[in-house]
Protein backbone atom coordinates (compact mmCIF):
# COMPACT_ATOMS: atom_id res chain seq x y z
CA UNK A 1 0.00 0.00 0.00
CA UNK A 2 1.06 3.62 -0.53
CA UNK A 3 1.50 5.93 2.45
CA UNK A 4 -2.01 7.36 2.07
CA UNK A 5 -3.62 3.92 1.78
CA UNK A 6 -1.66 2.58 4.74
CA UNK A 7 -2.33 5.44 7.13
CA UNK A 8 -6.02 5.81 6.21
CA UNK A 9 -6.52 2.05 6.64
CA UNK A 10 -4.83 2.25 10.03
CA UNK A 11 -6.89 5.22 11.18
CA UNK A 12 -10.11 3.60 9.96
CA UNK A 13 -9.26 0.32 11.71
CA UNK A 14 -9.14 -1.64 8.43
CA UNK A 15 -6.51 -4.07 7.10
CA UNK A 16 -6.71 -2.80 3.57
CA UNK A 17 -8.21 0.07 1.61
CA UNK A 18 -8.40 0.90 -2.10
CA UNK A 19 -8.24 4.30 -3.81
CA UNK A 20 -11.75 5.72 -4.14
CA UNK A 21 -12.97 4.03 -0.96
CA UNK A 22 -14.64 6.25 1.63
CA UNK A 23 -13.46 5.81 5.20
CA UNK A 24 -14.56 7.32 8.48
CA UNK A 25 -11.67 8.44 10.64
CA UNK A 26 -10.79 10.33 13.80
CA UNK A 27 -7.90 12.76 13.27
CA UNK A 28 -5.09 12.86 15.83
CA UNK A 29 -5.06 16.66 15.72
CA UNK A 30 -7.23 19.34 14.16
CA UNK A 31 -6.00 22.85 13.47
CA UNK A 32 -7.89 26.09 12.99
CA UNK A 33 -6.83 29.73 13.14
CA UNK A 34 -8.66 33.07 13.06
CA UNK A 35 -11.53 31.27 11.34
CA UNK A 36 -12.27 29.58 14.69
CA UNK A 37 -14.67 32.46 15.42
CA UNK A 38 -16.81 31.44 12.45
CA UNK A 39 -16.37 27.72 13.19
CA UNK A 40 -17.54 28.14 16.78
CA UNK A 41 -20.74 29.74 15.46
CA UNK A 42 -21.38 26.82 13.10
CA UNK A 43 -20.65 24.50 16.06
CA UNK A 44 -23.42 26.32 17.94
CA UNK A 45 -25.88 25.35 15.20
CA UNK A 46 -25.21 21.64 15.67
CA UNK A 47 -26.82 21.82 19.07
CA UNK A 48 -24.06 20.11 21.06
CA UNK A 49 -22.86 21.84 24.22
CA UNK A 50 -19.31 20.58 24.59
CA UNK A 51 -16.41 19.93 22.24
CA UNK A 52 -16.04 16.15 22.36
CA UNK A 53 -12.24 15.87 22.70
CA UNK A 54 -10.80 19.34 23.44
CA UNK A 55 -7.23 17.98 23.56
CA UNK A 56 -7.36 17.13 19.83
CA UNK A 57 -7.75 20.75 18.77
CA UNK A 58 -4.96 23.22 18.21
CA UNK A 59 -5.91 26.85 17.65
CA UNK A 60 -3.40 29.44 16.46
CA UNK A 61 -4.20 33.11 15.91
CA UNK A 62 -2.10 34.26 12.97
CA UNK A 63 -4.08 35.72 10.07
CA UNK A 64 -4.81 39.19 11.36
CA UNK A 65 -2.47 39.65 14.31
CA UNK A 66 -2.44 42.06 15.91
CA UNK A 67 -5.99 42.81 14.73
CA UNK A 68 -6.13 45.73 12.33
CA UNK A 69 -9.85 46.43 12.68
CA UNK A 70 -12.44 46.27 15.43
CA UNK A 71 -14.14 43.36 13.66
CA UNK A 72 -10.97 41.27 13.69
CA UNK A 73 -10.35 42.17 17.33
CA UNK A 74 -13.87 41.02 18.18
CA UNK A 75 -13.30 37.74 16.33
CA UNK A 76 -10.17 37.11 18.40
CA UNK A 77 -12.01 37.93 21.59
CA UNK A 78 -14.76 35.45 20.73
CA UNK A 79 -12.14 32.78 20.05
CA UNK A 80 -10.50 33.35 23.44
CA UNK A 81 -13.90 32.99 25.10
CA UNK A 82 -14.65 29.81 23.18
CA UNK A 83 -11.24 28.36 24.06
CA UNK A 84 -11.79 29.08 27.77
CA UNK A 85 -15.38 27.77 27.78
CA UNK A 86 -14.47 24.53 26.03
CA UNK A 87 -11.22 23.90 27.88
CA UNK A 88 -9.08 23.88 24.72
CA UNK A 89 -5.53 23.80 26.07
CA UNK A 90 -3.56 23.94 22.82
CA UNK A 91 -4.21 27.59 22.13
CA UNK A 92 -1.57 29.95 20.74
CA UNK A 93 -2.52 33.60 20.77
CA UNK A 94 -1.25 36.19 18.27
CA UNK A 95 2.52 36.56 18.03
CA UNK A 96 3.52 32.91 18.45
CA UNK A 97 3.60 32.44 14.70
CA UNK A 98 1.88 31.15 11.60
CA UNK A 99 -0.11 27.98 12.24
CA UNK A 100 1.92 25.88 9.79
CA UNK A 101 5.13 26.77 11.60
CA UNK A 102 3.65 26.63 15.10
CA UNK A 103 2.27 23.08 14.82
CA UNK A 104 5.71 21.65 13.90
CA UNK A 105 7.53 23.78 16.48
CA UNK A 106 5.15 22.82 19.27
CA UNK A 107 5.44 19.14 18.39
CA UNK A 108 2.04 18.34 16.85
CA UNK A 109 3.27 17.58 13.33
CA UNK A 110 4.26 14.01 14.07
CA UNK A 111 5.08 11.08 11.78
CA UNK A 112 2.21 8.65 11.37
CA UNK A 113 -0.48 11.05 12.55
CA UNK A 114 -3.60 12.27 10.75
CA UNK A 115 -3.97 16.05 10.96
CA UNK A 116 -6.81 18.05 9.42
CA UNK A 117 -6.93 21.81 9.38
CA UNK A 118 -9.39 24.43 8.21
CA UNK A 119 -6.66 25.91 6.03
CA UNK A 120 -5.54 24.67 2.64
CA UNK A 121 -1.81 24.71 3.47
CA UNK A 122 -2.33 22.14 6.22
CA UNK A 123 -0.50 19.88 3.75
CA UNK A 124 2.73 21.31 5.26
CA UNK A 125 2.92 18.60 7.96
CA UNK A 126 3.38 15.97 5.26
CA UNK A 127 7.07 16.92 5.48
CA UNK A 128 7.05 15.19 8.88
CA UNK A 129 5.43 12.02 7.60
CA UNK A 130 1.93 13.00 8.75
CA UNK A 131 -1.15 12.67 6.57
CA UNK A 132 -2.39 16.23 6.64
CA UNK A 133 -5.01 17.96 4.55
CA UNK A 134 -7.26 20.98 4.50
CA UNK A 135 -10.99 20.87 5.24
CA UNK A 136 -13.79 23.42 5.45
CA UNK A 137 -15.27 25.26 8.41
CA UNK A 138 -18.46 23.20 8.69
CA UNK A 139 -16.37 20.04 8.77
CA UNK A 140 -14.24 21.45 11.57
CA UNK A 141 -17.40 22.33 13.51
CA UNK A 142 -18.61 18.74 13.09
CA UNK A 143 -15.22 17.48 14.30
CA UNK A 144 -15.71 19.55 17.47
CA UNK A 145 -19.00 17.74 17.99
CA UNK A 146 -18.17 14.18 16.91
CA UNK A 147 -14.37 13.85 16.33
CA UNK A 148 -15.27 11.97 13.14
CA UNK A 149 -15.06 12.77 9.43
CA UNK A 150 -15.25 10.94 6.10
CA UNK A 151 -12.30 10.95 3.72
CA UNK A 152 -11.87 9.42 0.29
CA UNK A 153 -8.74 7.32 -0.11
CA UNK A 154 -6.76 9.06 -2.87
CA UNK A 155 -4.63 7.37 -5.48
CA UNK A 156 -0.98 8.35 -5.30
CA UNK A 157 1.65 10.04 -7.47
CA UNK A 158 5.28 9.44 -6.62
CA UNK A 159 7.57 12.36 -7.42
CA UNK A 160 11.20 11.30 -7.51
CA UNK A 161 13.78 14.09 -7.42
CA UNK A 162 17.29 13.04 -8.38
CA UNK A 163 20.49 15.01 -8.00
CA UNK A 164 21.22 17.80 -5.59
CA UNK A 165 20.16 21.44 -5.23
CA UNK A 166 23.06 23.85 -5.32
CA UNK A 167 22.87 27.24 -3.52
CA UNK A 168 21.41 29.73 -4.18
CA UNK A 169 18.84 27.29 -5.58
CA UNK A 170 16.30 26.18 -2.99
CA UNK A 171 13.40 23.78 -2.65
CA UNK A 172 11.16 26.71 -3.67
CA UNK A 173 12.69 26.69 -7.16
CA UNK A 174 12.13 22.94 -7.30
CA UNK A 175 8.47 23.02 -6.29
CA UNK A 176 7.76 25.91 -8.68
CA UNK A 177 9.37 23.88 -11.47
CA UNK A 178 7.25 20.82 -10.57
CA UNK A 179 4.00 22.84 -10.40
CA UNK A 180 4.85 24.66 -13.63
CA UNK A 181 5.41 21.34 -15.38
CA UNK A 182 2.37 19.43 -14.15
CA UNK A 183 -0.06 22.35 -13.70
CA UNK A 184 -2.30 23.70 -10.95
CA UNK A 185 -4.52 20.63 -11.25
CA UNK A 186 -1.70 18.23 -12.12
CA UNK A 187 -2.12 16.24 -8.92
CA UNK A 188 -5.80 16.95 -8.27
CA UNK A 189 -7.28 14.67 -5.53
CA UNK A 190 -3.98 12.76 -5.43
CA UNK A 191 -1.76 11.92 -2.54
CA UNK A 192 1.80 12.90 -3.47
CA UNK A 193 4.94 11.22 -2.12
CA UNK A 194 8.17 13.18 -2.62
CA UNK A 195 11.24 11.00 -2.67
CA UNK A 196 14.73 10.70 -4.15
CA UNK A 197 18.28 11.81 -3.39
CA UNK A 198 17.52 15.54 -3.53
CA UNK A 199 14.77 15.19 -0.92
CA UNK A 200 16.89 13.05 1.42
CA UNK A 201 19.63 15.65 1.19
CA UNK A 202 17.28 18.55 2.01
CA UNK A 203 16.86 20.16 5.42
CA UNK A 204 13.59 19.68 7.28
CA UNK A 205 12.67 23.33 6.59
CA UNK A 206 13.30 22.91 2.85
CA UNK A 207 11.06 19.82 2.78
CA UNK A 208 8.25 21.81 4.39
CA UNK A 209 8.19 24.10 1.34
CA UNK A 210 7.39 21.12 -0.91
CA UNK A 211 4.57 19.82 1.28
CA UNK A 212 3.26 23.35 1.85
CA UNK A 213 2.88 23.91 -1.87
CA UNK A 214 1.57 20.42 -2.76
CA UNK A 215 -1.91 21.95 -2.59
CA UNK A 216 -0.94 24.35 -5.40
CA UNK A 217 -0.95 21.39 -7.79
CA UNK A 218 -4.25 20.22 -6.37
CA UNK A 219 -2.85 17.45 -4.15
CA UNK A 220 -4.70 16.26 -1.08
CA UNK A 221 -1.48 15.79 0.88
CA UNK A 222 2.28 15.82 0.27
CA UNK A 223 4.23 13.14 2.13
CA UNK A 224 7.96 12.92 2.75
CA UNK A 225 9.35 9.87 4.57
CA UNK A 226 10.48 10.95 8.04
CA UNK A 227 14.17 10.30 8.79
CA UNK A 228 16.84 11.29 11.31
CA UNK A 229 16.54 14.96 10.38
CA UNK A 230 12.82 14.80 11.18
CA UNK A 231 13.34 12.91 14.43
CA UNK A 232 16.05 15.35 15.52
CA UNK A 233 13.78 18.34 14.83
CA UNK A 234 11.07 16.75 16.96
CA UNK A 235 13.36 15.96 19.90
CA UNK A 236 12.12 17.84 22.94
CA UNK A 237 9.13 19.09 20.93
CA UNK A 238 6.90 16.07 20.24
CA UNK A 239 3.76 16.26 22.37
CA UNK A 240 3.57 12.49 22.45
CA UNK A 241 5.15 9.28 21.21
CA UNK A 242 4.79 8.69 17.50
CA UNK A 243 4.98 5.77 15.08
CA UNK A 244 6.22 6.58 11.57
CA UNK A 245 4.35 5.08 8.62
CA UNK A 246 6.22 4.33 5.40
CA UNK A 247 4.81 3.21 2.04
CA UNK A 248 5.33 -0.46 1.17
CA UNK A 249 8.11 -1.13 -1.33
CA UNK A 250 5.59 -2.83 -3.63
CA UNK A 251 2.99 -0.04 -3.37
CA UNK A 252 1.17 0.74 -6.57
CA UNK A 253 1.34 4.30 -7.89
CA UNK A 254 -0.95 5.88 -10.43
CA UNK A 255 2.03 7.77 -11.84
CA UNK A 256 5.73 8.17 -11.14
CA UNK A 257 7.20 11.55 -12.12
CA UNK A 258 10.93 12.19 -12.22
CA UNK A 259 12.83 15.45 -11.85
CA UNK A 260 16.49 16.37 -11.52
CA UNK A 261 17.57 19.04 -9.07
CA UNK A 262 21.15 19.28 -10.33
CA UNK A 263 20.55 21.31 -13.45
CA UNK A 264 17.66 23.37 -12.06
CA UNK A 265 17.80 27.14 -12.51
CA UNK A 266 15.88 29.74 -10.44
CA UNK A 267 12.14 29.71 -11.17
CA UNK A 268 9.50 32.43 -10.90
CA UNK A 269 5.70 32.06 -10.94
CA UNK A 270 4.19 34.94 -12.92
CA UNK A 271 0.78 36.49 -12.25
CA UNK A 272 -1.94 35.24 -11.68
CA UNK A 273 -1.57 31.48 -11.24
CA UNK A 274 1.05 29.44 -9.41
CA UNK A 275 1.62 27.20 -12.43
CA UNK A 276 2.47 30.14 -14.70
CA UNK A 277 6.15 29.41 -14.11
CA UNK A 278 9.15 30.68 -16.06
CA UNK A 279 12.93 30.54 -15.60
CA UNK A 280 14.12 33.73 -13.93
CA UNK A 281 15.81 34.99 -17.13
CA UNK A 282 12.46 35.35 -18.80
CA UNK A 283 11.17 37.87 -16.24
CA UNK A 284 14.48 39.42 -15.16
CA UNK A 285 14.28 43.21 -15.34
CA UNK A 286 10.59 43.41 -14.37
CA UNK A 287 10.22 46.44 -12.11
CA UNK A 288 8.93 45.74 -8.59
CA UNK A 289 7.36 47.93 -5.89
CA UNK A 290 7.32 45.52 -2.96
CA UNK A 291 9.09 42.34 -1.92
CA UNK A 292 7.85 39.98 0.76
CA UNK A 293 10.26 37.61 2.46
CA UNK A 294 8.47 35.22 4.77
CA UNK A 295 5.10 33.44 5.21
CA UNK A 296 4.41 29.79 6.00
CA UNK A 297 6.23 28.86 2.80
CA UNK A 298 9.57 30.64 3.21
CA UNK A 299 9.67 32.44 6.55
CA UNK A 300 11.98 30.01 8.34
CA UNK A 301 15.45 30.63 9.71
CA UNK A 302 17.33 29.18 6.73
CA UNK A 303 15.28 31.37 4.38
CA UNK A 304 16.14 34.50 6.35
CA UNK A 305 19.79 33.41 6.53
CA UNK A 306 20.01 32.98 2.77
CA UNK A 307 18.38 36.35 2.11
CA UNK A 308 20.53 38.10 4.74
CA UNK A 309 23.66 36.65 3.16
CA UNK A 310 22.73 38.35 -0.11
CA UNK A 311 21.64 41.62 1.45
CA UNK A 312 24.32 42.03 4.15
CA UNK A 313 26.00 45.42 4.04
CA UNK A 314 23.88 46.62 1.11
CA UNK A 315 20.78 48.80 0.72
CA UNK A 316 17.33 47.99 -0.62
CA UNK A 317 16.75 49.78 -3.94
CA UNK A 318 15.04 53.16 -3.73
CA UNK A 319 11.31 52.87 -4.31
CA UNK A 320 11.09 49.26 -3.15
CA UNK A 321 9.36 48.29 0.11
CA UNK A 322 10.91 45.19 1.58
CA UNK A 323 8.78 43.35 4.13
CA UNK A 324 10.32 40.63 6.28
CA UNK A 325 7.81 38.32 7.92
CA UNK A 326 9.32 35.60 10.12
CA UNK A 327 7.13 32.50 10.34
CA UNK A 328 7.20 32.37 14.13
CA UNK A 329 8.45 33.98 17.31
CA UNK A 330 11.06 31.23 17.56
CA UNK A 331 12.33 32.11 14.08
CA UNK A 332 12.31 35.80 14.95
CA UNK A 333 14.31 35.23 18.14
CA UNK A 334 16.86 33.05 16.32
CA UNK A 335 17.13 35.63 13.55
CA UNK A 336 17.66 38.34 16.15
CA UNK A 337 20.42 36.47 17.92
CA UNK A 338 22.15 35.68 14.62
CA UNK A 339 22.05 39.36 13.64
CA UNK A 340 19.85 38.73 10.59
CA UNK A 341 17.19 41.21 11.68
CA UNK A 342 19.91 43.80 12.15
CA UNK A 343 21.02 43.15 8.56
CA UNK A 344 17.50 43.56 7.18
CA UNK A 345 16.68 46.72 9.13
CA UNK A 346 19.99 48.38 8.24
CA UNK A 347 19.36 47.58 4.59
CA UNK A 348 16.06 49.45 4.83
CA UNK A 349 13.56 46.58 5.26
CA UNK A 350 10.48 46.63 7.48
CA UNK A 351 10.23 43.69 9.87
CA UNK A 352 6.70 42.51 10.67
CA UNK A 353 5.27 40.58 13.57
CA UNK A 354 5.26 36.78 13.00
CA UNK A 355 1.93 35.96 11.35
CA UNK A 356 0.34 35.97 7.93
CA UNK A 357 0.61 39.70 7.42
CA UNK A 358 0.22 40.84 3.83
CA UNK A 359 0.09 37.28 2.43
CA UNK A 360 -3.70 37.34 2.31
CA UNK A 361 -4.09 41.01 1.56
CA UNK A 362 -5.81 42.27 4.68
CA UNK A 363 -3.14 44.32 6.44
CA UNK A 364 0.55 45.19 6.86
CA UNK A 365 1.44 45.93 3.27
CA UNK A 366 -1.37 45.57 0.73
CA UNK A 367 -0.79 46.51 -2.91
CA UNK A 368 -2.15 49.50 -4.81
CA UNK A 369 -3.55 49.15 -8.35
CA UNK A 370 -0.72 48.68 -10.83
CA UNK A 371 1.85 47.70 -8.21
CA UNK A 372 4.07 44.65 -8.55
CA UNK A 373 5.14 42.42 -5.67
CA UNK A 374 7.76 39.69 -5.67
CA UNK A 375 7.01 37.32 -2.83
CA UNK A 376 8.25 34.10 -1.27
CA UNK A 377 4.64 33.09 -0.48
CA UNK A 378 2.74 30.26 -2.12
CA UNK A 379 -0.04 32.05 -4.00
CA UNK A 380 -0.21 34.84 -6.59
CA UNK A 381 -3.93 34.92 -7.37
CA UNK A 382 -5.49 38.12 -8.64
CA UNK A 383 -6.43 40.38 -5.75
CA UNK A 384 -4.75 38.20 -3.12
CA UNK A 385 -2.51 40.92 -1.70
CA UNK A 386 -4.81 43.88 -2.14
CA UNK A 387 -5.83 45.45 -5.44
CA UNK A 388 -7.12 43.16 -8.16
CA UNK A 389 -5.06 45.27 -10.53
CA UNK A 390 -1.80 44.48 -8.76
CA UNK A 391 0.58 41.73 -9.86
CA UNK A 392 2.26 39.10 -7.71
CA UNK A 393 5.31 37.07 -8.73
CA UNK A 394 6.52 34.16 -6.57
CA UNK A 395 10.12 33.10 -6.11
CA UNK A 396 12.71 31.79 -3.65
CA UNK A 397 14.18 33.81 -0.77
CA UNK A 398 17.40 34.21 -2.78
CA UNK A 399 15.62 35.64 -5.83
CA UNK A 400 13.55 37.94 -3.63
CA UNK A 401 16.63 39.22 -1.76
CA UNK A 402 18.62 39.77 -4.96
CA UNK A 403 15.69 41.64 -6.52
CA UNK A 404 15.17 43.82 -3.43
CA UNK A 405 18.67 45.21 -4.01
CA UNK A 406 18.15 46.06 -7.67
CA UNK A 407 14.45 46.99 -7.76
CA UNK A 408 13.84 44.61 -10.66
CA UNK A 409 13.46 40.84 -10.78
CA UNK A 410 17.03 39.57 -10.63
CA UNK A 411 18.72 36.20 -11.03
CA UNK A 412 20.18 35.45 -7.58
CA UNK A 413 23.13 33.68 -9.19
CA UNK A 414 24.33 37.10 -10.36
CA UNK A 415 24.76 38.42 -6.85
CA UNK A 416 25.22 35.34 -4.68
CA UNK A 417 28.67 35.33 -3.17
CA UNK A 418 30.24 32.06 -2.24
CA UNK A 419 29.39 30.39 -5.53
CA UNK A 420 27.87 26.97 -5.87
CA UNK A 421 28.03 24.96 -2.68
Amino acid sequence: MTFAEKILAQKAGLDHVEPGQIVTVTPDFCMSHDNTAAISKIFGKIGVERVKDPERFVIVLDHTVPPSTEKYALGHKEIRQFVAQQGIVHFYDGGVGICHQVLPEKGFALPGTLILGSDSHTTTYGAFGAFSAGIGRSEMAVLYATSKIWLKVPSTFKIVVHGRLRAPLTSKDLILKIIGDIGADGALYRSVEFTGAAITEMSQAARMVLSNMAIEMGAKNGYIAPDDKTFRFLEGRAVRKYYPVYPDSDASYEKVLEFDASDLIPQVAKPHTVDNVAPVEEVAGTKIDQVLLGTCTNGRLEDLRLAARIIAGKKIATGVRMLVLPASREVLLDALSEGLIDTFVRAGAMVLNPGCGPCLGVHEGVLAPGEVCLSTANRNFKGRMGSRDAEIYLASPATVAASALTGVITDPRDVFEGGAE
Binding site: N35, Y72, A141, A184, Y189, G218
Partner: protein
Protein backbone atom coordinates in the same frame (compact mmCIF):
# COMPACT_ATOMS: atom_id res chain seq x y z
CA UNK B 1 -34.60 18.20 -12.60
CA UNK B 2 -33.55 21.81 -12.73
CA UNK B 3 -33.17 24.22 -15.61
CA UNK B 4 -30.86 27.20 -15.40
CA UNK B 5 -29.19 29.99 -17.27
CA UNK B 6 -25.41 29.61 -17.67
CA UNK B 7 -22.54 31.75 -16.41
CA UNK B 8 -19.44 30.45 -18.18
CA UNK B 9 -15.87 30.56 -16.85
CA UNK B 10 -12.55 28.92 -17.71
CA UNK B 11 -10.02 26.72 -15.92
CA UNK B 12 -8.56 27.23 -12.43
CA UNK B 13 -11.19 29.63 -11.08
CA UNK B 14 -9.65 30.10 -7.64
CA UNK B 15 -11.18 30.85 -4.27
CA UNK B 16 -9.59 34.32 -4.10
CA UNK B 17 -11.53 35.45 -7.17
CA UNK B 18 -14.69 33.67 -6.00
CA UNK B 19 -14.56 35.25 -2.57
CA UNK B 20 -11.70 37.71 -1.88
CA UNK B 21 -9.52 37.05 1.19
CA UNK B 22 -10.07 40.54 2.51
CA UNK B 23 -13.63 39.60 3.47
CA UNK B 24 -12.95 36.15 4.87
CA UNK B 25 -12.47 37.09 8.51
CA UNK B 26 -15.40 39.48 8.66
CA UNK B 27 -18.72 38.22 9.91
CA UNK B 28 -20.96 38.81 6.88
CA UNK B 29 -24.57 37.82 6.28
CA UNK B 30 -25.42 35.50 3.40
CA UNK B 31 -26.73 38.45 1.45
CA UNK B 32 -23.52 40.46 1.96
CA UNK B 33 -21.46 37.45 0.92
CA UNK B 34 -23.51 37.11 -2.26
CA UNK B 35 -22.67 40.70 -3.14
CA UNK B 36 -18.95 39.83 -3.27
CA UNK B 37 -19.36 36.56 -5.20
CA UNK B 38 -16.85 36.29 -8.07
CA UNK B 39 -15.97 39.94 -7.50
CA UNK B 40 -12.39 39.76 -8.79
CA UNK B 41 -13.25 37.61 -11.83
CA UNK B 42 -16.52 39.00 -13.12
CA UNK B 43 -17.88 42.14 -11.46
CA UNK B 44 -21.17 41.75 -13.40
CA UNK B 45 -21.94 38.40 -11.82
CA UNK B 46 -23.14 39.61 -8.42
CA UNK B 47 -25.22 42.35 -10.05
CA UNK B 48 -26.98 40.19 -12.60
CA UNK B 49 -27.11 36.66 -11.20
CA UNK B 50 -30.62 35.25 -10.77
CA UNK B 51 -31.98 32.52 -8.55
CA UNK B 52 -31.51 29.18 -10.30
CA UNK B 53 -28.57 30.17 -12.53
CA UNK B 54 -25.87 27.58 -13.16
CA UNK B 55 -22.11 28.12 -13.29
CA UNK B 56 -20.27 26.12 -15.94
CA UNK B 57 -16.46 26.12 -15.78
CA UNK B 58 -13.33 24.29 -16.89
CA UNK B 59 -10.90 22.26 -14.83
CA UNK B 60 -9.94 22.72 -11.17
CA UNK B 61 -12.83 24.98 -10.13
CA UNK B 62 -12.39 26.34 -6.60
CA UNK B 63 -8.64 25.79 -6.30
CA UNK B 64 -6.74 27.65 -3.60
CA UNK B 65 -7.87 28.42 -0.11
CA UNK B 66 -10.10 26.29 2.10
CA UNK B 67 -12.48 29.23 2.64
CA UNK B 68 -15.99 27.88 2.80
CA UNK B 69 -17.47 31.24 1.77
CA UNK B 70 -16.39 30.39 -1.79
CA UNK B 71 -19.22 27.85 -1.74
CA UNK B 72 -21.64 29.69 0.53
CA UNK B 73 -21.43 32.96 -1.42
CA UNK B 74 -22.45 31.17 -4.63
CA UNK B 75 -25.26 29.39 -2.85
CA UNK B 76 -26.39 32.69 -1.31
CA UNK B 77 -26.28 34.32 -4.75
CA UNK B 78 -28.88 31.79 -5.87
CA UNK B 79 -26.62 29.50 -7.92
CA UNK B 80 -28.42 26.17 -8.32
CA UNK B 81 -25.41 24.09 -9.32
CA UNK B 82 -21.82 24.31 -10.50
CA UNK B 83 -20.80 22.13 -13.43
CA UNK B 84 -17.06 21.84 -14.12
CA UNK B 85 -14.56 19.53 -15.76
CA UNK B 86 -13.05 19.01 -12.31
CA UNK B 87 -13.11 20.59 -8.86
CA UNK B 88 -10.45 21.29 -6.25
CA UNK B 89 -11.14 18.86 -3.44
CA UNK B 90 -11.72 21.26 -0.55
CA UNK B 91 -14.15 23.36 -2.62
CA UNK B 92 -15.94 20.17 -3.65
CA UNK B 93 -16.41 19.17 -0.01
CA UNK B 94 -17.43 22.68 1.03
CA UNK B 95 -20.05 22.82 -1.72
CA UNK B 96 -21.61 19.49 -0.72
CA UNK B 97 -21.44 20.49 2.94
CA UNK B 98 -23.45 23.62 2.15
CA UNK B 99 -25.99 21.90 -0.03
CA UNK B 100 -24.63 23.33 -3.30
CA UNK B 101 -24.69 20.62 -6.01
CA UNK B 102 -21.38 20.19 -7.82
CA UNK B 103 -21.25 18.17 -11.01
CA UNK B 104 -18.09 16.82 -12.53
CA UNK B 105 -18.70 16.58 -16.26
CA UNK B 106 -15.96 15.29 -18.53
CA UNK B 107 -17.75 15.83 -21.85
CA UNK B 108 -19.76 18.58 -23.43
CA UNK B 109 -18.53 21.49 -21.35
CA UNK B 110 -16.60 23.14 -24.17
CA UNK B 111 -19.80 23.56 -26.18
CA UNK B 112 -21.67 25.40 -23.43
CA UNK B 113 -21.60 29.20 -23.62
CA UNK B 114 -22.64 32.09 -21.38
CA UNK B 115 -26.39 32.66 -21.49
CA UNK B 116 -27.20 29.12 -22.72
CA UNK B 117 -29.73 27.06 -20.85
CA UNK B 118 -28.84 23.70 -19.32
CA UNK B 119 -31.06 21.11 -17.68
CA UNK B 120 -29.73 18.89 -14.94
CA UNK B 121 -31.33 15.56 -14.16
CA UNK B 122 -29.75 14.67 -10.80
CA UNK B 123 -31.54 11.37 -10.44
CA UNK B 124 -30.19 9.91 -13.64
CA UNK B 125 -26.94 11.87 -13.72
CA UNK B 126 -27.56 13.71 -16.97
CA UNK B 127 -26.83 17.26 -18.13
CA UNK B 128 -28.90 18.30 -21.15
CA UNK B 129 -27.64 21.10 -23.38
CA UNK B 130 -29.16 21.93 -26.78
CA UNK B 131 -30.75 18.50 -26.96
CA UNK B 132 -27.48 16.66 -26.23
CA UNK B 133 -27.23 14.48 -23.15
CA UNK B 134 -24.03 14.23 -21.15
CA UNK B 135 -23.67 11.78 -18.29
CA UNK B 136 -21.97 12.42 -14.97
CA UNK B 137 -21.07 9.86 -12.29
CA UNK B 138 -23.33 9.60 -9.25
CA UNK B 139 -21.90 10.73 -5.92
CA UNK B 140 -21.06 8.05 -3.32
CA UNK B 141 -24.14 7.39 -1.14
CA UNK B 142 -22.46 8.81 2.00
CA UNK B 143 -21.89 12.09 0.18
CA UNK B 144 -25.27 12.18 -1.55
CA UNK B 145 -26.98 11.86 1.83
CA UNK B 146 -25.31 15.10 3.00
CA UNK B 147 -26.41 16.96 -0.13
CA UNK B 148 -29.94 15.63 0.18
CA UNK B 149 -30.18 16.77 3.80
CA UNK B 150 -29.28 20.29 2.67
CA UNK B 151 -25.69 20.26 3.91
CA UNK B 152 -23.43 18.84 6.60
CA UNK B 153 -24.86 20.59 9.64
CA UNK B 154 -28.51 19.62 9.02
CA UNK B 155 -27.23 16.13 8.11
CA UNK B 156 -25.34 15.74 11.38
CA UNK B 157 -28.30 17.11 13.35
CA UNK B 158 -30.51 14.55 11.68
CA UNK B 159 -28.06 11.76 12.50
CA UNK B 160 -28.07 12.88 16.13
CA UNK B 161 -31.85 12.72 16.16
CA UNK B 162 -32.35 16.49 16.35
CA UNK B 163 -34.77 18.49 14.23
CA UNK B 164 -33.49 19.88 10.99
CA UNK B 165 -32.50 23.32 12.22
CA UNK B 166 -32.60 25.07 15.56
Amino acid sequence: MIEGRVWRYGDDVNTDVIFPGKYTYQPLTAEEMAQHALEDLDPDFAKEVQEGDVIVAGANFGCGSSREQAATCLKAAGVAAVIAKSFARIFFRNAINNGLPVIELKEGIDGIAKGDTVKIDFENGIVIHKGNEYHFPALPPEVLAILEDGGLIPHVRKEMGKEKYP
